[in-house]
Protein backbone atom coordinates (compact mmCIF):
# COMPACT_ATOMS: atom_id res chain seq x y z
CA UNK A 1 0.00 0.00 0.00
CA UNK A 2 1.33 3.40 -0.91
CA UNK A 3 1.39 6.25 1.54
CA UNK A 4 -2.13 7.77 1.51
CA UNK A 5 -0.91 11.08 2.89
CA UNK A 6 1.46 11.50 -0.02
CA UNK A 7 -1.23 10.53 -2.50
CA UNK A 8 -3.47 13.15 -0.95
CA UNK A 9 -0.78 15.81 -1.18
CA UNK A 10 -0.23 15.06 -4.84
CA UNK A 11 -3.95 15.13 -5.48
CA UNK A 12 -4.32 18.48 -3.74
CA UNK A 13 -1.44 19.86 -5.77
CA UNK A 14 -2.96 18.68 -9.07
CA UNK A 15 -6.38 20.04 -8.15
CA UNK A 16 -4.83 23.36 -7.16
CA UNK A 17 -2.93 23.46 -10.44
CA UNK A 18 -6.14 22.87 -12.38
CA UNK A 19 -7.74 25.78 -10.55
CA UNK A 20 -4.72 27.95 -11.20
CA UNK A 21 -5.09 27.31 -14.91
CA UNK A 22 -8.38 29.20 -14.78
CA UNK A 23 -6.79 32.26 -13.25
CA UNK A 24 -3.73 32.43 -15.49
CA UNK A 25 -5.47 33.05 -18.85
CA UNK A 26 -7.79 35.65 -17.33
CA UNK A 27 -4.87 37.43 -15.75
CA UNK A 28 -2.79 37.29 -18.93
CA UNK A 29 -5.62 38.58 -21.10
CA UNK A 30 -6.23 41.51 -18.82
CA UNK A 31 -2.54 42.32 -18.40
CA UNK A 32 -1.68 42.11 -22.10
CA UNK A 33 -4.67 44.16 -23.16
CA UNK A 34 -4.04 46.83 -20.55
CA UNK A 35 -0.35 46.94 -21.35
CA UNK A 36 -0.82 47.30 -25.08
CA UNK A 37 -4.06 49.23 -25.10
CA UNK A 38 -3.74 51.74 -22.28
CA UNK A 39 -1.38 54.08 -24.18
CA UNK A 40 -4.08 54.56 -26.82
CA UNK A 41 -6.86 55.38 -24.39
CA UNK A 42 -7.24 59.08 -23.78
CA UNK A 43 -10.07 61.55 -23.87
CA UNK A 44 -9.91 62.00 -27.63
CA UNK A 45 -9.98 58.21 -28.15
CA UNK A 46 -13.15 57.95 -26.08
CA UNK A 47 -14.97 61.01 -27.37
CA UNK A 48 -13.98 61.47 -31.01
CA UNK A 49 -15.22 59.81 -34.18
CA UNK A 50 -12.87 57.54 -36.14
CA UNK A 51 -10.66 59.39 -38.63
CA UNK A 52 -8.27 58.55 -41.46
CA UNK A 53 -10.02 55.28 -42.33
CA UNK A 54 -10.26 54.30 -38.66
CA UNK A 55 -6.52 54.52 -38.17
CA UNK A 56 -6.82 57.56 -35.96
CA UNK A 57 -9.41 59.55 -34.06
CA UNK A 58 -11.62 57.82 -31.52
CA UNK A 59 -14.25 55.14 -31.10
CA UNK A 60 -17.07 57.18 -29.63
CA UNK A 61 -19.76 56.04 -32.13
CA UNK A 62 -18.90 52.40 -31.45
CA UNK A 63 -19.14 52.87 -27.68
CA UNK A 64 -22.47 54.63 -27.98
CA UNK A 65 -23.67 52.00 -30.46
CA UNK A 66 -22.92 49.19 -28.04
CA UNK A 67 -24.62 51.07 -25.21
CA UNK A 68 -27.71 51.54 -27.40
CA UNK A 69 -27.73 47.88 -28.37
CA UNK A 70 -27.43 46.67 -24.79
CA UNK A 71 -30.11 49.10 -23.62
CA UNK A 72 -32.43 47.98 -26.41
CA UNK A 73 -31.79 44.34 -25.56
CA UNK A 74 -32.69 44.99 -21.89
CA UNK A 75 -35.91 46.79 -22.80
CA UNK A 76 -36.90 43.93 -25.05
CA UNK A 77 -35.65 40.85 -23.22
CA UNK A 78 -36.04 41.69 -19.52
CA UNK A 79 -39.86 41.88 -19.45
CA UNK A 80 -40.33 38.87 -21.69
CA UNK A 81 -37.78 36.83 -19.79
CA UNK A 82 -39.13 37.72 -16.36
CA UNK A 83 -42.75 37.16 -17.38
CA UNK A 84 -41.86 33.80 -18.91
CA UNK A 85 -39.99 32.84 -15.76
CA UNK A 86 -42.99 33.84 -13.63
CA UNK A 87 -45.27 31.76 -15.79
CA UNK A 88 -43.02 28.71 -15.74
CA UNK A 89 -42.23 28.91 -12.08
CA UNK A 90 -45.48 30.10 -10.52
CA UNK A 91 -48.31 29.18 -12.82
CA UNK A 92 -47.44 26.35 -15.19
CA UNK A 93 -47.95 22.85 -13.94
CA UNK A 94 -45.59 20.05 -14.81
CA UNK A 95 -46.96 18.73 -18.07
CA UNK A 96 -45.84 17.83 -21.55
CA UNK A 97 -46.10 21.40 -22.85
CA UNK A 98 -44.06 22.99 -20.07
CA UNK A 99 -41.43 20.29 -20.39
CA UNK A 100 -41.15 21.15 -24.08
CA UNK A 101 -40.81 24.83 -23.19
CA UNK A 102 -38.09 24.14 -20.65
CA UNK A 103 -36.25 21.96 -23.14
CA UNK A 104 -36.53 24.72 -25.71
CA UNK A 105 -34.97 27.22 -23.32
CA UNK A 106 -32.04 24.94 -22.62
CA UNK A 107 -31.50 24.47 -26.32
CA UNK A 108 -31.87 28.16 -27.03
CA UNK A 109 -28.92 28.71 -24.69
CA UNK A 110 -26.87 26.28 -26.74
CA UNK A 111 -27.46 27.86 -30.14
CA UNK A 112 -24.23 29.35 -31.57
CA UNK A 113 -24.23 33.12 -31.68
CA UNK A 114 -23.71 33.29 -35.44
CA UNK A 115 -26.93 31.34 -35.88
CA UNK A 116 -28.70 34.04 -33.85
CA UNK A 117 -27.21 36.50 -36.28
CA UNK A 118 -28.68 34.69 -39.27
CA UNK A 119 -31.99 34.30 -37.47
CA UNK A 120 -32.08 38.03 -36.72
CA UNK A 121 -31.25 38.78 -40.34
CA UNK A 122 -34.08 36.59 -41.58
CA UNK A 123 -36.71 37.65 -39.06
CA UNK A 124 -36.07 41.26 -38.08
CA UNK A 125 -34.04 42.67 -40.96
CA UNK A 126 -35.83 40.98 -43.85
CA UNK A 127 -39.21 39.70 -42.73
CA UNK A 128 -40.19 42.62 -40.45
CA UNK A 129 -38.37 45.03 -42.81
CA UNK A 130 -36.50 46.76 -40.01
CA UNK A 131 -33.44 46.67 -42.22
CA UNK A 132 -30.02 46.54 -40.63
CA UNK A 133 -30.85 48.71 -37.63
CA UNK A 134 -30.40 49.21 -33.93
CA UNK A 135 -33.84 47.74 -33.32
CA UNK A 136 -33.05 44.56 -35.28
CA UNK A 137 -29.71 44.20 -33.52
CA UNK A 138 -31.22 44.80 -30.07
CA UNK A 139 -33.90 42.21 -30.66
CA UNK A 140 -31.33 39.69 -31.83
CA UNK A 141 -29.11 40.28 -28.80
CA UNK A 142 -32.21 40.19 -26.60
CA UNK A 143 -33.28 36.80 -27.89
CA UNK A 144 -29.78 35.53 -27.37
CA UNK A 145 -29.91 36.68 -23.76
CA UNK A 146 -33.41 35.33 -23.06
CA UNK A 147 -32.38 31.84 -21.94
CA UNK A 148 -29.97 33.31 -19.39
CA UNK A 149 -32.57 35.77 -18.10
CA UNK A 150 -35.25 33.09 -17.86
CA UNK A 151 -33.02 30.56 -16.16
CA UNK A 152 -31.60 32.96 -13.58
CA UNK A 153 -35.01 34.54 -12.97
CA UNK A 154 -36.50 31.13 -12.32
CA UNK A 155 -33.75 30.35 -9.86
CA UNK A 156 -34.34 33.68 -8.15
CA UNK A 157 -38.10 33.09 -7.93
CA UNK A 158 -37.57 29.60 -6.65
CA UNK A 159 -35.30 30.81 -3.88
CA UNK A 160 -38.11 32.84 -2.31
CA UNK A 161 -39.32 30.63 0.57
CA UNK A 162 -42.64 28.88 0.14
CA UNK A 163 -43.73 30.12 3.55
CA UNK A 164 -43.89 33.73 2.27
CA UNK A 165 -46.30 32.71 -0.46
CA UNK A 166 -48.30 30.63 1.98
CA UNK A 167 -48.72 33.49 4.45
CA UNK A 168 -49.60 35.92 1.73
CA UNK A 169 -52.28 33.63 0.33
CA UNK A 170 -53.60 32.93 3.83
CA UNK A 171 -54.07 36.67 4.34
CA UNK A 172 -56.39 36.65 1.35
CA UNK A 173 -53.97 37.85 -1.30
CA UNK A 174 -54.51 36.45 -4.75
CA UNK A 175 -51.81 34.54 -6.52
CA UNK A 176 -50.88 37.55 -8.61
CA UNK A 177 -50.82 39.90 -5.60
CA UNK A 178 -48.56 37.43 -3.85
CA UNK A 179 -46.20 37.39 -6.81
CA UNK A 180 -46.34 41.13 -7.28
CA UNK A 181 -45.83 42.20 -3.66
CA UNK A 182 -43.96 39.31 -2.07
CA UNK A 183 -42.21 37.06 -4.55
CA UNK A 184 -40.92 39.55 -7.12
CA UNK A 185 -39.42 42.08 -4.67
CA UNK A 186 -37.52 39.27 -2.99
CA UNK A 187 -36.35 37.80 -6.28
CA UNK A 188 -35.40 41.12 -7.85
CA UNK A 189 -31.71 41.04 -7.00
CA UNK A 190 -31.27 37.60 -8.51
CA UNK A 191 -33.17 38.60 -11.62
CA UNK A 192 -31.14 41.77 -12.12
CA UNK A 193 -27.86 40.01 -11.50
CA UNK A 194 -28.63 37.33 -14.05
CA UNK A 195 -29.85 39.83 -16.60
CA UNK A 196 -26.78 42.01 -16.34
CA UNK A 197 -24.41 39.05 -16.58
CA UNK A 198 -26.29 37.82 -19.64
CA UNK A 199 -26.18 41.21 -21.28
CA UNK A 200 -22.53 41.58 -20.46
CA UNK A 201 -21.93 38.55 -22.58
CA UNK A 202 -24.20 39.84 -25.32
CA UNK A 203 -22.43 43.20 -25.36
CA UNK A 204 -19.22 41.55 -26.46
CA UNK A 205 -20.72 39.37 -29.19
CA UNK A 206 -19.87 40.12 -32.79
CA UNK A 207 -21.75 37.49 -34.75
CA UNK A 208 -25.34 38.43 -33.80
CA UNK A 209 -24.82 42.07 -34.75
CA UNK A 210 -22.80 41.36 -37.87
CA UNK A 211 -25.79 41.04 -40.20
CA UNK A 212 -28.40 42.87 -38.17
CA UNK A 213 -27.02 46.27 -37.23
CA UNK A 214 -23.29 46.81 -37.30
CA UNK A 215 -21.94 49.48 -39.62
CA UNK A 216 -18.50 49.07 -41.06
CA UNK A 217 -17.76 52.76 -40.90
CA UNK A 218 -20.24 55.38 -39.78
CA UNK A 219 -18.42 58.22 -38.12
CA UNK A 220 -21.45 59.85 -36.52
CA UNK A 221 -24.09 58.98 -33.98
CA UNK A 222 -27.29 57.24 -35.17
CA UNK A 223 -30.40 59.43 -35.38
CA UNK A 224 -33.03 56.77 -34.81
CA UNK A 225 -33.42 53.13 -33.83
CA UNK A 226 -34.00 52.27 -37.48
CA UNK A 227 -30.46 53.25 -38.42
CA UNK A 228 -27.31 51.23 -38.41
CA UNK A 229 -24.63 51.97 -35.88
CA UNK A 230 -21.06 51.07 -35.19
CA UNK A 231 -20.50 48.73 -32.27
CA UNK A 232 -17.38 47.92 -30.27
CA UNK A 233 -16.97 44.20 -30.97
CA UNK A 234 -17.55 44.58 -34.70
CA UNK A 235 -15.33 47.66 -34.86
CA UNK A 236 -12.59 45.66 -33.20
CA UNK A 237 -13.04 42.92 -35.79
CA UNK A 238 -12.92 45.46 -38.61
CA UNK A 239 -9.77 47.28 -37.54
CA UNK A 240 -8.06 43.99 -36.74
CA UNK A 241 -8.76 42.20 -40.01
CA UNK A 242 -10.30 44.46 -42.63
CA UNK A 243 -8.29 47.65 -42.48
CA UNK A 244 -4.56 47.52 -43.22
CA UNK A 245 -1.98 49.41 -41.23
CA UNK A 246 -3.98 50.12 -38.10
CA UNK A 247 -1.68 50.83 -35.20
CA UNK A 248 -1.59 47.94 -32.75
CA UNK A 249 -2.32 50.17 -29.80
CA UNK A 250 -5.58 51.38 -31.41
CA UNK A 251 -6.74 47.78 -31.69
CA UNK A 252 -5.77 46.96 -28.15
CA UNK A 253 -7.23 50.23 -26.94
CA UNK A 254 -10.56 49.27 -28.48
CA UNK A 255 -10.35 45.83 -26.90
CA UNK A 256 -9.58 47.44 -23.55
CA UNK A 257 -12.64 49.70 -23.76
CA UNK A 258 -14.85 46.72 -24.65
CA UNK A 259 -13.40 44.64 -21.85
CA UNK A 260 -13.84 47.50 -19.39
CA UNK A 261 -17.46 47.91 -20.46
CA UNK A 262 -18.24 44.22 -19.92
CA UNK A 263 -16.34 44.03 -16.64
CA UNK A 264 -18.12 47.16 -15.48
CA UNK A 265 -21.49 45.51 -16.12
CA UNK A 266 -20.36 42.43 -14.20
CA UNK A 267 -19.22 44.68 -11.39
CA UNK A 268 -22.66 46.28 -11.23
CA UNK A 269 -24.18 42.79 -11.01
CA UNK A 270 -21.84 41.86 -8.18
CA UNK A 271 -22.62 45.05 -6.27
CA UNK A 272 -26.37 44.47 -6.62
CA UNK A 273 -26.04 40.92 -5.40
CA UNK A 274 -23.85 41.94 -2.51
CA UNK A 275 -26.19 44.73 -1.40
CA UNK A 276 -29.28 42.54 -1.43
CA UNK A 277 -27.57 39.61 0.19
CA UNK A 278 -26.64 41.78 3.14
CA UNK A 279 -30.29 42.67 3.58
CA UNK A 280 -31.80 39.23 3.42
CA UNK A 281 -31.66 36.93 6.36
CA UNK A 282 -34.17 34.17 5.89
Amino acid sequence: MRNPRRTQKIAFFLLFLATLFIVVPVGLIVIIIIQKGLPAVNWQFLSDVPRQGMRAGGIFPAIIGTVYLVTGAIIFALPIGVLAAIYLNEYAGDNFLTRIIKLAIVNLAGVPSVVYGLFGLALFVVFFRFGASIIAGSFTLGIMTLPIIITTSREALESVPYSFREVSRSLGASKWQTIRYIVLPNALSGILTGTILGLGRAAGETAPILFTVAAFYLPRLPHSVFEQTMALPYHLYVISTQVPNVDEKVRYGTALVLLALVLFMNLVAIVIRFKFRKKKKW
Binding site: F164, E166, S168, R169, S170, G172, A173, Q177, Y181, K281
Partner: protein, 253 residues
Protein backbone atom coordinates in the same frame (compact mmCIF):
# COMPACT_ATOMS: atom_id res chain seq x y z
CA UNK B 1 -71.48 27.99 27.71
CA UNK B 2 -74.03 28.28 25.02
CA UNK B 3 -72.12 30.13 22.35
CA UNK B 4 -73.42 29.71 18.87
CA UNK B 5 -71.57 27.64 16.35
CA UNK B 6 -69.02 29.48 14.24
CA UNK B 7 -68.35 26.47 12.07
CA UNK B 8 -70.47 23.40 11.45
CA UNK B 9 -68.77 20.50 9.72
CA UNK B 10 -70.70 17.49 8.48
CA UNK B 11 -69.76 14.52 6.33
CA UNK B 12 -66.42 16.02 5.39
CA UNK B 13 -64.05 13.82 3.40
CA UNK B 14 -60.74 14.86 1.90
CA UNK B 15 -58.33 13.06 -0.37
CA UNK B 16 -54.78 13.88 -1.39
CA UNK B 17 -54.75 11.96 -4.65
CA UNK B 18 -55.58 8.43 -3.50
CA UNK B 19 -54.87 9.07 0.13
CA UNK B 20 -58.00 9.44 2.22
CA UNK B 21 -56.79 12.07 4.68
CA UNK B 22 -60.06 13.09 6.38
CA UNK B 23 -62.85 10.59 6.91
CA UNK B 24 -66.42 11.65 7.47
CA UNK B 25 -65.63 14.49 9.87
CA UNK B 26 -68.48 15.90 11.91
CA UNK B 27 -67.91 18.71 14.34
CA UNK B 28 -69.13 22.06 15.51
CA UNK B 29 -66.72 24.79 16.54
CA UNK B 30 -68.31 27.29 18.88
CA UNK B 31 -67.79 31.01 18.77
CA UNK B 32 -65.30 32.80 20.98
CA UNK B 33 -63.79 29.86 22.67
CA UNK B 34 -60.56 28.01 22.08
CA UNK B 35 -60.96 24.62 20.49
CA UNK B 36 -57.91 22.39 20.40
CA UNK B 37 -57.35 19.58 17.95
CA UNK B 38 -54.91 16.97 19.15
CA UNK B 39 -53.64 13.71 17.77
CA UNK B 40 -50.45 11.99 16.61
CA UNK B 41 -48.45 13.18 13.59
CA UNK B 42 -50.16 12.54 10.30
CA UNK B 43 -53.61 12.13 11.82
CA UNK B 44 -55.03 14.90 9.66
CA UNK B 45 -55.37 17.67 12.24
CA UNK B 46 -53.44 20.22 10.18
CA UNK B 47 -55.35 19.14 7.11
CA UNK B 48 -58.63 19.74 8.90
CA UNK B 49 -57.43 23.18 9.95
CA UNK B 50 -56.47 24.01 6.38
CA UNK B 51 -59.91 23.05 5.14
CA UNK B 52 -61.33 25.92 7.14
CA UNK B 53 -59.49 28.62 5.17
CA UNK B 54 -59.14 26.50 2.04
CA UNK B 55 -55.35 26.56 2.23
CA UNK B 56 -55.48 22.97 1.03
CA UNK B 57 -56.39 24.42 -2.35
CA UNK B 58 -52.70 25.20 -2.82
CA UNK B 59 -51.87 21.49 -2.75
CA UNK B 60 -52.20 19.77 -6.07
CA UNK B 61 -54.61 16.84 -6.31
CA UNK B 62 -56.83 17.71 -3.35
CA UNK B 63 -60.50 16.69 -3.43
CA UNK B 64 -63.10 17.42 -0.82
CA UNK B 65 -66.71 16.49 -0.24
CA UNK B 66 -69.15 17.30 2.51
CA UNK B 67 -70.25 20.51 4.12
CA UNK B 68 -68.49 23.14 6.17
CA UNK B 69 -70.92 25.87 7.15
CA UNK B 70 -69.84 29.27 8.37
CA UNK B 71 -72.76 31.58 9.05
CA UNK B 72 -75.05 29.39 6.97
CA UNK B 73 -72.65 29.49 4.05
CA UNK B 74 -70.95 26.39 2.75
CA UNK B 75 -67.26 27.08 2.15
CA UNK B 76 -66.67 23.87 0.23
CA UNK B 77 -67.11 24.11 -3.50
CA UNK B 78 -65.84 25.89 -6.56
CA UNK B 79 -68.02 28.98 -6.29
CA UNK B 80 -66.74 30.08 -2.89
CA UNK B 81 -64.96 33.43 -2.71
CA UNK B 82 -61.75 32.08 -1.24
CA UNK B 83 -60.20 35.51 -0.80
CA UNK B 84 -63.16 36.69 1.22
CA UNK B 85 -63.07 33.49 3.24
CA UNK B 86 -59.39 33.89 4.08
CA UNK B 87 -60.04 37.43 5.23
CA UNK B 88 -62.55 36.06 7.72
CA UNK B 89 -60.48 33.02 8.69
CA UNK B 90 -56.86 33.85 9.40
CA UNK B 91 -54.01 31.49 10.05
CA UNK B 92 -50.98 31.46 12.31
CA UNK B 93 -48.28 29.05 11.20
CA UNK B 94 -45.89 26.80 13.03
CA UNK B 95 -42.78 28.80 12.26
CA UNK B 96 -43.11 32.53 12.83
CA UNK B 97 -42.94 33.81 9.28
CA UNK B 98 -42.92 37.59 9.03
CA UNK B 99 -42.18 38.98 5.59
CA UNK B 100 -38.68 40.41 5.14
CA UNK B 101 -40.16 43.89 5.49
CA UNK B 102 -40.43 46.40 8.29
CA UNK B 103 -42.74 45.77 11.22
CA UNK B 104 -45.11 48.40 9.87
CA UNK B 105 -45.14 46.97 6.36
CA UNK B 106 -45.82 43.49 7.70
CA UNK B 107 -48.98 44.62 9.43
CA UNK B 108 -50.36 46.77 6.63
CA UNK B 109 -49.80 44.08 4.01
CA UNK B 110 -53.23 42.53 4.48
CA UNK B 111 -55.26 45.76 4.79
CA UNK B 112 -53.52 47.24 1.75
CA UNK B 113 -54.37 44.24 -0.35
CA UNK B 114 -58.01 44.36 0.57
CA UNK B 115 -58.68 48.08 0.34
CA UNK B 116 -57.25 51.40 -0.63
CA UNK B 117 -56.35 53.06 2.63
CA UNK B 118 -55.01 56.37 3.69
CA UNK B 119 -51.86 56.66 5.67
CA UNK B 120 -53.57 57.61 8.93
CA UNK B 121 -56.02 54.72 8.61
CA UNK B 122 -53.09 52.35 8.21
CA UNK B 123 -51.34 53.95 11.18
CA UNK B 124 -54.45 53.28 13.25
CA UNK B 125 -54.58 49.67 12.15
CA UNK B 126 -50.93 49.17 13.02
CA UNK B 127 -51.40 50.56 16.50
CA UNK B 128 -54.58 48.57 17.16
CA UNK B 129 -53.12 45.34 15.86
CA UNK B 130 -49.93 45.69 17.85
CA UNK B 131 -51.94 46.54 20.95
CA UNK B 132 -54.07 43.43 20.41
CA UNK B 133 -50.96 41.27 20.70
CA UNK B 134 -49.42 43.41 23.47
CA UNK B 135 -46.48 44.52 21.39
CA UNK B 136 -47.32 48.21 20.97
CA UNK B 137 -45.38 49.54 23.95
CA UNK B 138 -42.34 47.49 23.01
CA UNK B 139 -42.28 48.33 19.32
CA UNK B 140 -44.01 51.67 18.82
CA UNK B 141 -40.68 53.42 18.24
CA UNK B 142 -39.27 50.70 16.03
CA UNK B 143 -41.97 50.33 13.43
CA UNK B 144 -39.54 50.83 10.58
CA UNK B 145 -37.13 48.19 11.78
CA UNK B 146 -36.99 44.92 9.91
CA UNK B 147 -39.36 42.33 11.31
CA UNK B 148 -36.60 39.77 10.88
CA UNK B 149 -34.65 41.35 13.75
CA UNK B 150 -37.33 40.50 16.31
CA UNK B 151 -37.15 37.58 18.73
CA UNK B 152 -39.04 34.42 17.84
CA UNK B 153 -41.82 35.22 20.26
CA UNK B 154 -42.13 38.78 19.00
CA UNK B 155 -42.21 37.47 15.46
CA UNK B 156 -45.06 35.12 16.28
CA UNK B 157 -46.94 37.93 17.99
CA UNK B 158 -46.32 40.11 14.97
CA UNK B 159 -47.72 37.37 12.75
CA UNK B 160 -50.85 37.35 14.89
CA UNK B 161 -51.03 41.14 14.67
CA UNK B 162 -50.69 40.91 10.91
CA UNK B 163 -53.77 38.70 11.03
CA UNK B 164 -55.87 40.83 13.32
CA UNK B 165 -55.14 43.74 10.98
CA UNK B 166 -57.48 42.20 8.39
CA UNK B 167 -60.18 41.80 11.06
CA UNK B 168 -60.94 38.09 10.84
CA UNK B 169 -63.58 36.28 12.89
CA UNK B 170 -61.71 33.06 13.27
CA UNK B 171 -58.05 32.41 14.04
CA UNK B 172 -56.56 29.10 13.01
CA UNK B 173 -53.33 28.26 14.78
CA UNK B 174 -51.17 25.46 13.52
CA UNK B 175 -48.84 24.54 16.38
CA UNK B 176 -48.09 28.21 17.00
CA UNK B 177 -45.74 27.55 19.92
CA UNK B 178 -43.77 24.58 18.71
CA UNK B 179 -40.67 26.65 17.93
CA UNK B 180 -40.85 28.74 21.11
CA UNK B 181 -39.27 28.24 24.50
CA UNK B 182 -41.51 27.48 27.54
CA UNK B 183 -41.69 31.09 28.79
CA UNK B 184 -42.62 32.42 25.38
CA UNK B 185 -45.14 29.63 24.99
CA UNK B 186 -46.74 30.61 28.25
CA UNK B 187 -47.01 34.24 27.20
CA UNK B 188 -48.49 33.32 23.82
CA UNK B 189 -51.03 31.16 25.63
CA UNK B 190 -51.97 34.12 27.82
CA UNK B 191 -52.39 36.13 24.65
CA UNK B 192 -54.67 33.48 23.24
CA UNK B 193 -56.88 33.64 26.30
CA UNK B 194 -57.04 37.37 25.78
CA UNK B 195 -57.84 36.99 22.08
CA UNK B 196 -60.69 34.56 22.55
CA UNK B 197 -62.81 37.44 23.82
CA UNK B 198 -62.91 38.68 20.24
CA UNK B 199 -62.07 35.71 18.10
CA UNK B 200 -63.00 32.10 17.63
CA UNK B 201 -59.73 30.23 17.99
CA UNK B 202 -58.95 26.76 16.73
CA UNK B 203 -55.52 25.47 17.58
CA UNK B 204 -53.78 22.35 16.39
CA UNK B 205 -51.21 21.16 18.84
CA UNK B 206 -48.90 18.28 19.51
CA UNK B 207 -48.67 19.28 23.06
CA UNK B 208 -51.46 17.74 25.12
CA UNK B 209 -50.68 19.82 28.19
CA UNK B 210 -51.10 22.90 26.08
CA UNK B 211 -54.48 21.71 24.85
CA UNK B 212 -55.53 20.93 28.42
CA UNK B 213 -54.32 24.33 29.64
CA UNK B 214 -55.88 26.65 27.16
CA UNK B 215 -58.75 25.02 25.31
CA UNK B 216 -62.43 24.95 26.18
CA UNK B 217 -63.20 22.13 23.80
CA UNK B 218 -60.97 19.46 22.38
CA UNK B 219 -61.13 17.16 19.40
CA UNK B 220 -58.98 14.06 19.16
CA UNK B 221 -58.04 12.80 15.73
CA UNK B 222 -56.53 9.51 14.64
CA UNK B 223 -55.82 8.29 11.11
CA UNK B 224 -58.09 10.85 9.50
CA UNK B 225 -61.02 10.34 11.82
CA UNK B 226 -62.31 12.66 14.49
CA UNK B 227 -62.55 10.13 17.30
CA UNK B 228 -63.79 12.32 20.06
CA UNK B 229 -64.95 15.90 20.39
CA UNK B 230 -66.25 17.67 23.44
CA UNK B 231 -65.47 19.86 26.45
CA UNK B 232 -61.76 19.67 27.21
CA UNK B 233 -62.25 18.56 30.76
CA UNK B 234 -64.42 15.69 29.65
CA UNK B 235 -62.04 14.57 26.90
CA UNK B 236 -59.07 14.61 29.24
CA UNK B 237 -60.61 13.11 32.34
CA UNK B 238 -63.23 10.66 31.15
CA UNK B 239 -63.00 10.16 27.40
CA UNK B 240 -65.73 8.09 25.78
CA UNK B 241 -63.40 6.32 23.41
CA UNK B 242 -60.71 3.89 24.41
CA UNK B 243 -58.30 5.25 21.78
CA UNK B 244 -58.56 8.78 23.18
CA UNK B 245 -57.65 7.49 26.60
CA UNK B 246 -54.71 5.55 25.20
CA UNK B 247 -53.39 8.63 23.45
CA UNK B 248 -53.86 10.92 26.42
CA UNK B 249 -52.21 8.53 28.80
CA UNK B 250 -49.29 8.33 26.40
CA UNK B 251 -49.65 4.86 24.99
CA UNK B 252 -48.85 6.15 21.54
CA UNK B 253 -48.31 9.41 19.70
Amino acid sequence: MDNISAIEISGLDLWYGDFHALKNIRAGFRERIITAIIGPSGCGKSTLLRVLNRMNDLVEGVRMSGHVLMKQEDIIGEAVDVTGLRKKVGMVFQRPNPFPLSIYENIVFGPRIHANMRRHELDDIVEKSLRSVLLWEELKDKLNRSALDLSLEQKQRLCIARLTAVKPDILLMDEPCSTLDPQSTQRIEELMRELKKDYTIIIVTHNMQQAARISDETGFMLLGELIEFGPTEHVFTSPDDRRTEDYITGRYG
